[in-house]
């Protein structure tokens, strides 16, 4: 029975798989990042079909908006010109395909076997409850996540910062 | 005042206070370390004065819940067996600080921090009444010791320290397994006193006995797991050797007393003869091997194997004289071997050589020092009037009472002991003076201050051993009361091993 949710799901699924598959095989990293960006937007769509509006928003704002842009910057920062001409794959990629395929089959078999009891009662859902939960029960983890992010920001800056002495030395060599 | 907790954590906290001191002013660091060690010693004196010698119960007990899901307690206490070791620890640490005054020139701050930390953990080992807590201190003590040997040691220090660490760790891990098994078998508790109330099946006792044996025998060290000791002693700095010989290896024998004997009395009884045989091999083997050593510290290290053989022989004689003699001999060995290592450290500072061949005629150059060393030598060979005699005699008497052959073989250790110690003394202090030793400074005031307390203890314990023995009587009697006096059906080592098989 083909219903709207199923059609929507099929659309998103096909797009996600296609975009992901394309992303991992493109030669140009910039293309790969852009394909993943598109894929993330479709992921947000899937989340909407699952009633997770807040997460869909987060997926778009944080993942697509922030993280992938960061990737894009970094890709530009490294030597893109040579990158486009060099070999995409490592030498042993055919074996890796097999491993990935086997994993998928194993997981799929597991999904097929699994019996998930679906409860009838409709528990409270939606952004409101999510917010209440986050700021009451999960307040401490929430704060910790904030600190982790802050640390990551500082750490990322520290790592990416050019060591002035080293840089000048490098430039002199050039 | 929770005096035992204070004794454990005061040096550790004080070590933290040493850390921010300016590393370019070592004098101040040393002064603070000395002040801490001396105050720790003074703090431990109430243990001596207000100890009640008429009861076998634990004293100065502190008991707090700690990790509730596993029923772990923070429980401390001392009885007549352990109280003396706490005092010995605090005393020897003071001397170690003093003797390291000049000899530790590199990173003095870190050295004294490690030393004070070590002191705290060792006191913890002797006071812990909870197996879990005990195990923590038992392993924690390895870390500062590892550093002391590995950072401030001699040329082969890395080999020695890694060997020391791995050797002891292998033994300890077997004990850890034993502790967990015991925890399950003894009603989910780590409380030593509660565990000792139970009676375990004989096969379990044997298995656990051997698991604990692995840890304790390495530490003692009993033959044939003694080979870490010569390397560790030889490479360790003076203070390290003193702590190692004086206190650390006592923890093994202490473990036998505190755990093996009260927890597994039947197994102990069955294992009496194998243990005595191992002890005797240690006595003779350690003594004989000393004869051909050419390195002073190595020689003293092997002599420790021989002397600790007497200790375990006494403990496993399983009678009053043997056990009390064994405990006394542990303290004696701490004092005497500690003193010998201190003395060697004092000459090493001047000559920078440990080879016996580089010495000779030292008595003409350093006469006062020669006198001290003579006293320590005599104590090491157990001359009456020194503490060594009382311990060895009681041990031999105990061994003779339970197995006369054991005393006969062990007594040969007295002959061998006199041989290697006097030969050492002759080659170092007598004979025509070695020209290389001309112009060596005589012993100074600080060094005399280091040696005098130990020399005094040697004589005081030699003439009035009851000062110490009085502390033990009740506790030892209580301990021995737990061990069946009747001979088990068959006591041969083969039989005992066979009982281990499923």
């Amino acid at each position: 029975m083909l219903t709207l949710p199923k059609i929507l799901f099929a659309y998103f699924a096909v797009m996600i798989l296609g975009l992901a598959g394309a992303a991992v095989t493109r030669r140009n990293p910039v293309h790969a990042v852009l394909l993943v960006l598109a894929m993330f937007l479709h992921m947000a769509g899937i989340y909407l079909t699952l009633g997770a509006e807040f997460l869909a928003a987060v997926q778009m704002i944080v993942y697509a908006g922030a993280i992938l842009v960061l990737y894009l910057f970094v890709v530009f920062l490294v030597d893109l010109r040579r990158e486009v001409q060099s070999e995409r794959f490592v030498d042993w990629h055919s074996n890796s395909f097999l491993v990935a395929l086997l994993l998928f089959l194993a997981l799929a078999y597991g999904v097929g076997r699994a019996q998930v009891e679906v409860p009838d009662a409709t528990a409270p859902a939606g952004v409101l409850h999510l917010g209440v939960e986050l700021f009451t029960t999960y307040l401490l983890p929430f704060e910790i996540a904030g600190i982790v992010l802050l640390v990551a920001v500082v750490g990322g800056m520290a790592l990416a910062r050019r060591d002035r002495a080293a840089t000048t030395a490098e430039e002199e060599v050039r | 005042m929770p005096i035992l907790s204070v004794l454990i954590f005061f040096p550790m906290l004080a070590a933290l206070l040493v850390l921010p001191l300016d590393k370019d002013r070592p004098e101040r660091i040393k002064a603070v370390a000395l002040a801490v060690a001396v105050s720790e010693f003074l703090l431990s004196l109430p243990l001596w004065s207000s100890f009640d010698k008429t009861t076998h119960l634990m004293q100065f007990v502190e008991r707090h819940r700690w990790i509730e899901p596993w029923n772990v307690q923070y429980a401390l206490g001392v009885d007549g067996i352990s109280v003396l070791f706490v005092l010995l620890t605090t005393l020897l640490t003071v001397l170690c600080v003093l003797v390291s005054w000049r000899s530790v020139t590199e990173k003095p701050k870190e050295f004294f921090v490690a030393l004070l930390f070590l002191e705290g953990t060792i006191v913890g080992v002797f006071c812990a009444l909870d197996l879990f807590l005990f195990y923590i201190f038992w392993e924690a003590m390895l870390i500062p010791m590892f550093l002391i040997i590995g950072v401030w040691g001699g040329p082969r220090r890395l080999y020695a320290t890694v060997k020391f660490f791995l050797y002891t760790l292998v033994g300890s891990l077997l004990m850890l397994v034993g502790i967990i098994v015991l925890y399950r078998a003894g009603g989910n508790t780590f409380d030593i006193l509660a565990l000792a109330e139970n009676q375990y099946p004989i096969r379990l006792q044997l298995v656990l006995f051997w698991a604990f044996f692995a840890a304790f025998a390495v530490k003692v060290p009993m033959w044939p797991v003694h080979t870490w000791l010569p390397d560790a002693h030889t490479e360790a700095p003076t203070a390290g050797s003193v702590i190692l010989a004086g206190i650390l290896i006592k923890m093994g024998a202490y473990g036998f007393l505190r755990f093996s004997m009260p927890l597994f009395p039947n197994a102990t009884r069955m294992m009496m003869e194998p243990m005595m045989i191992l002890s005797i091999i240690g006595i003779i083997y350690g003594g004989l091997i000393c004869i051909s050593q050419s390195d002073i510290k190595r020689l003293i290290a092997y002599s420790s194997v021989s002397h600790m053989g007497f200790v375990t022989l006494g403990l496993f004689s399983l009678n009053t004289q043997g056990v009390e003699g064994g405990i006394l001999q542990m303290i004696n060995h701490g004092i005497v071997t500690g003193a010998l290592f201190l003395a060697i450290g004092i000459v090493y500072e001047r000559t920078h050589s440990r080879a016996i061949a580089d010495y000779g005629g030292l008595a003409s150059v350093m006469p006062v020092f020669a006198g001290f060393f003579m006293l320590f030598t005599l104590a090491a060979i157990g001359l009456p009037g020194t503490n060594g005699f009382v311990g060895e005699f009681l041990v031999l008497l105990g061994a003779f009472s339970s197995r006369s052959w054991a005393a006969v073989f062990a007594a040969t250790g007295l002959i061998i002991g006199a041989w290697y110690m006097l030969w050492l003394y002759q080659r170092v202090f007598f004979n025509p003076p070695n020209p290389g030793l001309q112009g060596i400074a005589a012993i100074n005031g600080r060094e005399i201050v280091v040696l005098v307390p130990l020399a005094a203890l040697i004589l005081v314990i030699g003439f009035v051993p009851n000062l110490l023995l009085d502390y033990m009587h009740v506790s030892v009697a209580h301990l021995l009361a737990r061990i069946p006096q009747a001979e088990p059906a068959a006591t041969g080592p083969l039989h005992a091993l066979a009982a281990l098989l499923p």
């Binding site: - | 004989l288 051909s292 003699g325 005629g361 005599l378 009456p384 003779f400 040969t412 004979n431």
Partner: protein, 639 residues
């Protein structure tokens, strides 16, 4: 407890400590305190002797030393007739040696140390004889060993002296090994170490057995033999006699005090003290007699050919000590102690005489470079002559009475080996007289054989040395009169005095036999003197010829029957080799270390193989992880 008993050992102990501490400051005055202490001790000893002579026997504990279980031992004093005699011997000889040393040791850089050690020795010896239990005996026993070690090695820069001190200590340890086991066995048997309690209970153990090392012994025999082991070591009996001749490396006053008069007789004292135990075992008594007799002959023959003046006297000491053991072995403890008493004086005199000679010769000890010293050293000459006569058993002198009593007792005893011992004793009496006078003639008569330098240096010793010689000479002559037997018009005072402690061994023989035996032994002694006179004064060329014709025997004697070499080859060298090659190199470094280092090495090698899996490519790691995950899933589904 009377005050003088406490003072008796305490005075030398304090003197030891104070002299050691203040030595640097006292310098050449360091002898004052030790001499004062020795005098105090002598006074106290005389007071103790007076009390005992009036029947007061003291047995009191000073304080409890060791308590452990049912073991309780004290430092305590037992003063009875035996102790009193020993006290007087020890303190009197000690005082004289102290005084003598003032002259002999003058100018030595370690003068204070020497006197400190002498005081330590006096203290130790007094503790040994005063003790009222076995452990205190052992305390003194080891402490005199220590003082002996220190004094033999007094000139420790000399390797031979340091060697000799060490050898003395270690050889003695072999004896102590038996003694300590004996003491333990006494404790295990009787449950106490106090003499009085042990001796009272002693008869109760007759017939009991004890298994040691799988061998079953009669309990009394085992105890007695183990205790005797200690005596063998301390008194230098075969087979532990090797240390005493070497001990002559020490200063001569030390040899006189320790290695002649007092310490070496501690073994005899031990046997005599424990006579209630030894009496229970005829096996042990026979062993003592035979060991004594054999050592007696053995040492005397070696003494025949020695050329070092002190070594001759040392071997004669071994031989005289053996007489004392023969006496104890045949049950005549009183005679043994009597000989100990007289021997102390004439042997100390001999040694101090030797010391005077060596002093005059500037340290030379070889008799071959002496001779004709009579005119240079008159006082030494005359006192030495008296001592030699005394040891040879010349009638009327001290040695005569004591030796004669021993021979009489050995002849009349019912101990199996008594007659054998008597015969040996007689032979040795002859040999003793011969070598004593050989030494005497070689030293004092004939022509001076040393260098002219030495001749110019010759002088009689100062009065501080000769006065002790004269006093000892008085002792060497008169000490024996205390025990002159009834047939010579005496009253056997000594035996009566000792009877309460040592029992009374009566010789039940007709007066004629007694006269005959006495005559034979006197004849043996006198003929020995005559032979020495003949060989070394009248026909000085003869000894050389004899040496030629019995060269093989001579070689064995000069080399002391190669006993030292035997021990080195059988005990010392194998032990060193075993230590170096078997234990150190093989067992420890190869076997145990092989396992200890081998296991980590094995792990290291295995991990080296496994390491090749580690390429460094992070993707390989993840691929392995993913394969693992797949494997896990499959396993999960299958199970």
């Amino acid at each position: 407890m009377p005050l003088y008993l406490v003072l008796l050992p305490l005075a030398p102990l304090l003197s030891f400590l104070l002299t050691l501490l203040s030595g640097k400051w006292m310098g050449s005055r360091a002898h004052r305190l030790p001499i004062l202490a020795a005098s105090i001790s002598l006074g106290c000893a005389l007071a103790a002797g007076w009390d005992v002579a009036h029947g007061v026997v003291t047995d009191a504990d000073f304080y409890t030393w060791i308590t452990a279980g049912d073991l309780q031992v004290s430092f305590g004093f037992l003063v009875d007739q035996l102790t009193a005699a020993m006290l007087i011997v020890v303190t009197s000889i000690s005082l004289l040696v102290h005084i003598y040393s003032v002259g002999y040791m003058q100018g030595d850089p370690s003068y204070p140390r020497f006197f400190a050690y002498l005081s330590l020795f006096t203290f130790s010896m007094l503790m040994l004889v005063l003790g009222n239990n076995f452990l205190q005996l052992f305390f003194g026993w080891e402490a005199v060993g220590l003082s002996s070690y220190l004094l033999i090695g007094f000139w420790h820069q000399k390797k031979s002296a340091a060697d000799a001190g060490k050898k003395a200590f270690i050889v003695n340890r072999f004896g102590d090994f038996g003694l300590s086991l004996g003491i333990m066995l006494v404790f295990v048997t009787f449950g106490t170490l106090h003499y009085q309690e042990v001796f009272q209970a002693a008869p109760g153990i007759v017939g009991q057995q004890f298994t040691l090392l799988g061998l079953t012994f009669e309990l009394p025999t085992l105890i007695a033999l183990l205790l005797f082991c200690g005596a063998v070591g301390k008194s230098a009996m075969i087979p532990l006699h090797v240390w005493l001749p070497d001990a002559m490396e020490g200063p001569t006053p030390v040899s006189a005090l320790i290695h002649a008069a007092t310490m070496v007789t501690a073994g005899v004292f031990l046997v005599a003290r424990c006579n209630p135990l030894f009496e229970l075992s005829s096996v042990a008594l026979n062993v003592i007699t035979v060991v004594g007799a054999v050592t007696c002959l053995f040492a005397a023959t070696i003494a025949l050919v020695q050329t070092d003046i002190k070594r001759v006297v040392a071997y004669s000491t071994v031989s005289q000590l053996s007489y004392m053991f023969v006496a104890c072995g045949v049950g005549a403890y009183s005679a043994g102690i009597f000989h100990l008493f007289t021997h102390a004086y004439f042997k100390a005199l001999l040694f101090l005489g030797c010391g005077s000679v060596i002093h005059a010769m500037g340290g030379e000890q070889d008799v071959r470079s002496m001779g004709g010293l009579k005119k240079y050293l008159p006082i030494t000459y005359w006192t030495f002559l008296l001592a030699s006569l005394s040891i040879s058993g010349a009638p009327g002198l001290a040695g005569f009475f004591s030796k004669d009593e021993i021979l009489l007792m050995a002849y009349t005893t019912n101990i199996g080996s008594g007659r054998f011992a008597w015969f040996i004793g007689l032979v040795v009496a002859f040999i003793t007289a011969f070598y004593s006078f050989r030494l005497f003639f070689l030293t004092f008569h004939g022509r001076f054989r040393g260098s002219t330098e030495q001749r110019d240096h010759l002088h009689e010793s100062p009065p501080v040395m000769t006065v002790p010689l004269i006093l000892l000479a008085v002792g060497a002559v008169t000490a024996g009169w205390l025990g002159s037997p009834e047939i010579l018009g005496g009253h056997s005072m000594w035996d009566h005095f000792m009877a309460p402690v040592l029992g009374r061994a009566e010789a039940h023989v007709p007066h004629f036999t007694e006269w005959l035996l006495m005559g034979i032994s006197v004849f043996a002694g006198l003929s020995g003197i005559w032979l020495a006179y003949h060989l070394y004064v009248r026909r000085p060329e003869l000894p050389g010829q004899l040496r030629e014709s019995f060269s093989e025997t001579y070689r064995w004697l000069v080399n002391k029957y190669y006993v030292d070499e035997f021990y080195v080859a059988v005990l010392v060298q194998p032990a060193i080799n075993c230590s170096r090659y078997v234990l150190s190199a093989f067992a420890d470094a190869t076997l145990i270390e092989g396992v200890v280092n081998g296991v980590p090495r094995l792990i290291g090698r295995a991990s080296g193989r496994l390491r090749r899996l580690q390429s460094g490519h992070v993707q390989h790691y993840l691929a392995a992880m993913a394969s693992g995950a797949v494997g896990l899933l499959v396993w999960l589904y299958l199970v």
